[in-house]
Amino acid sequence: MTAKVARGKVLPSKKNKTWATVWNFRHIYLFMLPAIIWYLVFCYYPMYGILIAFKDFKYNLGILGSPWEGFRYFKQFLSDSSFYSVLYNTLSISALKLLFGFPAPLILALMLNGVMSGKFKRIFQTISYLPHFVSWVVVVTLMQKILSPNVGLINDIRDHMGMEPIFFMGMPSLFYPLVIISDIWKGVGWGSIIYLAALTNIDPHLYEAAEMDGAGRWSKLFKITLPTLTPTIGILLIFSLSGVLNAGFDQIWLMQTPATLSVSEILDTYVLKTGIQQGQFAYSTAIGLFKSFISLILIVAVNKVSKKVSDVSLW
């Protein structure tokens, strides 16, 4: 497949060589075309919309034609008294999700890996995946039904026991636990797939050798399993840290009540309220852009640190 070079002829440049390779494998590249088009249309083309953050957006002038406003909306957001509470809530929820939600799939994968019965393992694995396919709308509606102070199962039980009903979804102190528990319930099975895949790559001979050396279950875990999974854990951690400002819009939006607003208003919900509900498109785009910018800095920084510390990195 390499290009033939005739004596006396100029060797093809690197660029030409690349195009020649692409041409040679054109049928394979053709498969990529739909994905490339999808990215161009849905991911890159709309990106010019971020210009709204710097403009006084007028319907008739459009994004490009609207007059420039500079950094006005960024300054407005940074001086807004809501800014700190919204950022605090976002970071709090993300940090808690990271703390409890990040290790959960790993633990589940390790537990499933330790189960000897293949049938049980498969059934449990399938059941644990299912919540991933249920939308947040359904999950939160179920939670509301179960936890409702009026018709909820738990409060019904409390009522039979002569206890006062509790408005679980309306208690700020319970908001974060409910967010974390429901998030883990929904994502743990799906998240464990990648670890299970990584676990299958571990050479069984390593375990056999370790057993012969007298290693117990915990020794094998800490000496073989976890070190082998470290690159996978590292990559997933980088991804998670870069998304630390995404506290989970769907979930939070649906679970939010006036009673929990003080702890549940996050950047994404604030963007929706100021943008779509109040029509301040430029202001909300500025907040969204601010969030993306911080996320970009985070992913670069975390990648760099990870590369230095553990040699695990995205690029």
Binding site: P258, A259, I276, Q278
Partner: protein
């Protein structure tokens, strides 16, 4: 070869313009937005529709047009018939105007939908949406869209459609007309058509019957007379008794002492003790004019609401109920007391059928601090109403206006409210009367009326007209529910204040635009609701004072001072 290529090129050159000409000619003036154009078949339709004869003339047959219509009201689709295109009213409408409507409605916030359609440039051909507020909300979104080219300027069409032209002024409060519809920034153009406006008589102003309604059987069991419960303290006392009374809903589960419809609508009925007859955003307190956000009453309102919530007397889920969950609670008699309108439409099909003994009774009516009955306040015309507007990109504006004009002709109104003559009603001494069989069906199941197409035109396309005044239903023909609704109206008489709202004066304040920018992201009601659920009263007051301070920082006090000075120079300003 060369010759034949030349020949084919020449043929193509000729064929393409000819083909284009033919296609254009076939298209009539469907895409022509020039109102002066008399080509096509819409030239004289305004007048013919006015007399109800459109389409009767075979030589002037109407071109079929399909227009998209959005009812931008949360739950606005409730009045839509199941068969949108072939229900009797739609068929008649098509016969008369050539128009078929494709109906769409929303189940989310109105302002959210409006912002979305304007920003994404996907405005349906005809939209019905709220145009309430003078300082924010949907009205200002629509106004911005109009000024930024998203709405069709109707001015050039008005002479052609006299019924539409009449809607522009009749039943519209003079201050609203001056400061909103004809404000200088509109530059003499008309973008919206007022709907649901009265026809100029006080009797035609619709009474919405807002109030507190309590389940009749519970009042009976507690030996409480509904009319006696007319203060906040008495409501609190009643709710406490209900809570201690172990009352059940139709499925045997405990009732909720009180609640509201979706998203807390309308919890302000529980706070009517602090209401007054207001037509503006300003209040007079201690001899000084203040903006409503700064009222001392806000503290008392908040603490009362907190008391209801913390004592388990108010549905904690009231502010997060969806339309579906709220209706479910209503239909099962779950709410012992609710604040809103009488909700007769839903109840007569559900709870009142299964459990007539639970029929809700109007409490009070409630009295405010001054001892006055708290009720609906209106000006001689309406200041804020649903409006119809057309997309600037509508392909056939004449078709849309023809339909609106027809719907507001005598014939169109009869069609909208009474349906098909001979099938649904007959004319007796010039007045329509239901055909007994149809009336029986309608009374027994309001869905039948809806599916006959009798709800959507009357709800969305009618202005400057009152069916109740024009065609009053004799008492012997009224259903028990209509009689009940009328009895509520009698107890909640409308108060009319013939003044100019002080709110409009703030617009001349030099810092007004700056104030609007600074307060655009402030949501007083959301903060108030948040405060209702704060840990302690102190925390709640802190939240309240926080939002009040933000308004202060934006200059609300200086604005009130300015309005006060301007108002002093006139004698027609009302608060």
């Amino acid at each position: 070869m060369r010759k034949s290529r030349l020949k084919s090129s020449l043929s193509l050159t000729l064929a393409i313009p000819l083909l284009a000409l033919t296609v254009t000619a076939c298209g009539g003036n469907g895409g022509n937005n020039d109102p002066g154009s008399t080509t096509g078949n819409t030239g004289n339709k305004g007048n013919t529709a006015n007399t109800g004869n459109a389409g009767d003339n075979g030589s002037d047959a109407l071109k079929p047009v399909t227009l998209s219509f959005l009812s931008a009201w949360n739950g606005g689709g409730a009045g839509f018939p199941q068969d949108q295109e072939n229900n009797p009213v739609a068929q008649k409408l098509r016969e008369k105007t050539g128009v078929t409507l494709k109906l769409e409605s929303i189940t989310t916030s109105e302002v959210e939908k409006l912002n979305t359609i304007f920003a994404s440039d996907t405005v349906p051909d005809i939209v019905n949406a709220p145009f309430w507020s003078t300082t924010g909300g949907e009205g200002q979104v629509i106004k911005k869209a109009a000024l930024e080219g998203q709405l069709l300027d109707l001015t050039p069409y008005l002479d052609k459609y006299p019924n539409v032209k009449k809607l522009m002024t009749q039943g519209v409060a003079k201050d609203f007309a001056e400061f909103e519809l004809n404000s200088p920034d509109m530059e003499g153009k008309h973008y919206v058509i007022p709907m649901q406006t009265p026809d100029g008589t006080p009797e035609s102003i619709h009474n919405w019957n807002y109030g507190l309604y309590a389940r009749g059987d519970i009042l009976k069991a507690l030996n409480v007379n509904a009319a006696d419960i007319d203060t906040q303290d008495k409501v609190l006392d009643l709710l406490t008794k209900i809570k201690n009374g172990s009352f059940k809903d139709i499925s045997g589960k405990p009732v909720i002492p009180s609640g509201t419809m979706h998203n807390g609508w309308d919890y302000s009925q529980f706070l009517s003790g602090w209401s007054d007859y207001n037509i503006s955003d300003f209040r007079q307190e201690d001899g000084k004019l203040i903006h409503w956000t700064q009222s001392k009453d806000q503290e008392a309102r908040l603490l009362y609401m907190r008391k209801l919530i913390s004592n388990g007397l108010f549905d904690p889920e009231a502010f997060s109920n969806t339309d579906t969950t709220a209706n479910e609670k209503l239909a099962t008699g779950k709410l012992a007391v609710f604040g809103a309108q009488s909700m007769m439409g839903q109840l007569q099909n559900t709870l009142y059928k299964t459990n007539p003994e639970m029929q809700y009774e109007l409490l009070g009516p409630m009295k405010n601090k001054s001892g006055n009955i708290v009720t609906q306040v209106e000006k001689p015309g309406r200041s804020g109403f649903p409006v119809l507007f057309l997309s600037a990109k509508i392909k056939d504006p004449d078709a849309a206006l023809r339909l609106i004009d027809y719907a507001n002709s005598d014939e169109g109104r009869l069609l909208a409210y009474w349906g098909i003559e001979g099938k649904d009603y007959t004319m007796v001494d010039g007045k329509p009367q239901w055909i007994p069989d149809m009336k029986k069906k309608f009374d027994e199941n309001t869905d039948v009326k809806r599916d006959e197409g009798l709800n959507y035109l009357s709800g969305s396309f009618q202005g400057a007209f009152s069916s109740e005044v024009t065609w009053p239903i004799p008492d012997d023909q009224k259903t028990q529910w209509e009689k009940l609704e009328a009895s509520f109206s009698k107890r909640l008489p409308i108060q009319i204040i013939d003044k100019v709202s002080a709110t409009y004066l703030e617009r001349d304040w030099p810092q007004y635009n700056d104030f609007r920018d600074k307060t655009a992201s402030l949501n007083f009601d959301e903060e108030f609701r948040k405060a209702c659920y704060a840990k302690s009263d102190d925390d709640a007051l802190k939240i309240l004072h926080g939002i009040q301070d933000k308004f202060k920082a934006a200059g609300v006090e200086a604005m009130a001072q300015y309005v006060s000075e301007k108002a002093a120079a006139r004698d027609d300003i009302g608060w």
